[in-house]
């Protein structure tokens, strides 16, 4: 029963991430610069990041809930990120690579500097890679399925 309750809580916990305000930020009622300002959060305010919408992140603070500019936040708490957060991810990864079946050697990461430097050709995998390539037409219909419209945007100077 306890485990079940814990499992039910998991998605909620995953959604809220600790974050820190890195430059003074206006807490807005809506994710827009012309929305009402609820408060101004000083540097180093600890908040919980809930979701992102474009350049805005919805946060929970002691001053209430609202939206701040995404780039005025640093995710991961006031000082260095808590080791627990990445520890969980690491445990998850170990479990994943254990069941993937392709990398059976324990402790092999595969893409460290040394392993890249000493890598030998793998023509069989190269042939697979070519097989998965998408042509222009396939990619275009994939984009329209996702309702993506191409936009003309110039490179910055």
């Amino acid at each position: 029963m306890r485990i079940l309750a814990l499992l039910l809580l998991l998605p909620l916990l995953a959604a809220a991430e600790p974050a820190t305000v890195i430059k003074p930020a206006e807490l807005k009622q809506e994710p827009a610069s012309d929305a009402a300002t609820l408060a101004t959060l000083p540097e180093n305010t600890a908040v919980d990041a809930l979701e992102r919408k474009g350049g805005w992140t919805r946060v929970k603070t002691s001053a209430g809930e609202g939206w701040v500019r995404m780039l005025s936040l640093r995710l991961g708490g006031a000082t260095t990120p808590k080791p627990g957060a990445s520890g969980l991810t690491q445990a998850f990864n170990v479990a994943r690579s254990g069941t993937s079946g392709t990398q059976t050697t324990t402790g092999v990461r595969g893409l460290d500097a040394e392993q890249i430097a000493n890598a030998q050709p793998n023509p069989a995998e190269l042939a697979k890679l070519e097989k998965f390539a998408a042509d222009r037409d396939a990619a275009t219909s994939f984009a329209s399925q996702g309702k993506l419209s191409p936009t003309s945007v110039a490179y910055p100077k």
Partner: protein, 277 residues
């Protein structure tokens, strides 16, 4: 007094001679180097760029194979190819692969091959984030960042004639050396300016594809929140500027573009369906 003027004369003569001689040597040497590099740059045409890229891609796949999930591989190819169509090199043989490694990284190989690791993909939340990272890698190919580094390095790693032979012949010891050298470059990284350029232009390419332009900054923020001591990040952090610097630079230079295209789709549901099952 005489001795002093004699000394002054000697110093002057020596200086004059040095000024006369040294620049000549340096300029000659410089002209040679520029000629060699310039020649090598011209020598590598698009078919050759693609051929070198395939050899390098094969080696990277020797370091980590593809994730055995055809649906995921095709999905990433669709996103990547759609973005590539929006660029000045739409018809390269673009191909995208998810490497089976828990390390967090992505690689661009000359000629249009791009790899992303399972470790990085698993930390993303939406297709817009994937598009931001693929956009960054596509820029490395468009601007030939690695190819230029390979060309420069080949000149010093191999003697002039051997470098020419390695580029001309697609087999043999000189060619092996060139490809080994080119692959090793991925463990050392590019110039910082190349990485920051790939960030700026990558944001533009994702926006052109119709995605929320904040995808790349969002991934950088995720990386920033990770424990920097995590060994899964070691190579990526060694070969790239710190996430904080990359975010600052984007915020400083790209805020108008980011904001103009921030309400385009993120496609989180489609991403999660394809990647997290």
């Amino acid at each position: 007094m005489k001795i002093l003027s004699l000394l002054a004369g000697l110093v002057f003569a020596a200086t004059a001679q040095a000024q006369f001689r040294l620049p000549n040597i340096d300029i000659n040497k410089m002209v040679d180097t520029v000629k060699n590099v310039g020649k090598a740059v011209k020598d590598i045409d698009e078919p050759e760029e693609i051929a070198i890229g395939k050899d390098v891609a094969s080696r990277l796949l020797g370091a980590a194979p593809l994730v055995a999930n055809p649906g995921m591989q095709r999905y990433v190819n669709n996103v990547g190819r759609w973005l590539a169509v929006q660029t000045e090199r739409p018809d390269l043989p673009w191909q995208f692969g998810v490497l089976d490694s828990p390390n967090v990284n992505a690689f661009a190989v000359p000629g249009g091959t791009i790899f992303i690791t399972r470790g990085l993909l698993e930390r993303m939340r939406s297709e817009a984030e994937l598009a931001g990272v693929l956009g960054h890698e596509i820029v490395h190919v468009l601007r030939k960042h690695h190819l230029k580094a390979i060309q420069k390095g080949a000149q010093s790693a191999l003697a002039g004639d051997a470098a020419a032979a390695a580029l001309r012949d697609r087999a043999g010891p000189a060619r092996d050396k060139l490809i080994a050298f080119s692959t090793e470059m991925y463990s050392r990284g590019l110039d910082k300016s190349d990485e920051l350029e790939a960030d700026r232009l990558g944001v533009v390419i994702a926006a052109r594809g119709g995605y929320d332009a904040y995808g790349l900054p969002s991934v950088l923020q995720t990386l920033q929140a990770m424990n920097a001591q995590d060994s899964a990040l070691a190579l990526m952090f060694k070969t790239h500027p710190a996430p904080a610097e990359r975010l600052d630079t984007l915020s400083e230079k790209m805020q108008p573009v980011l904001d103009a295209y921030s309400s385009q789709p993120q496609l989180a549901d489609r991403f999660l369906r394809q990647v997290k099952k």
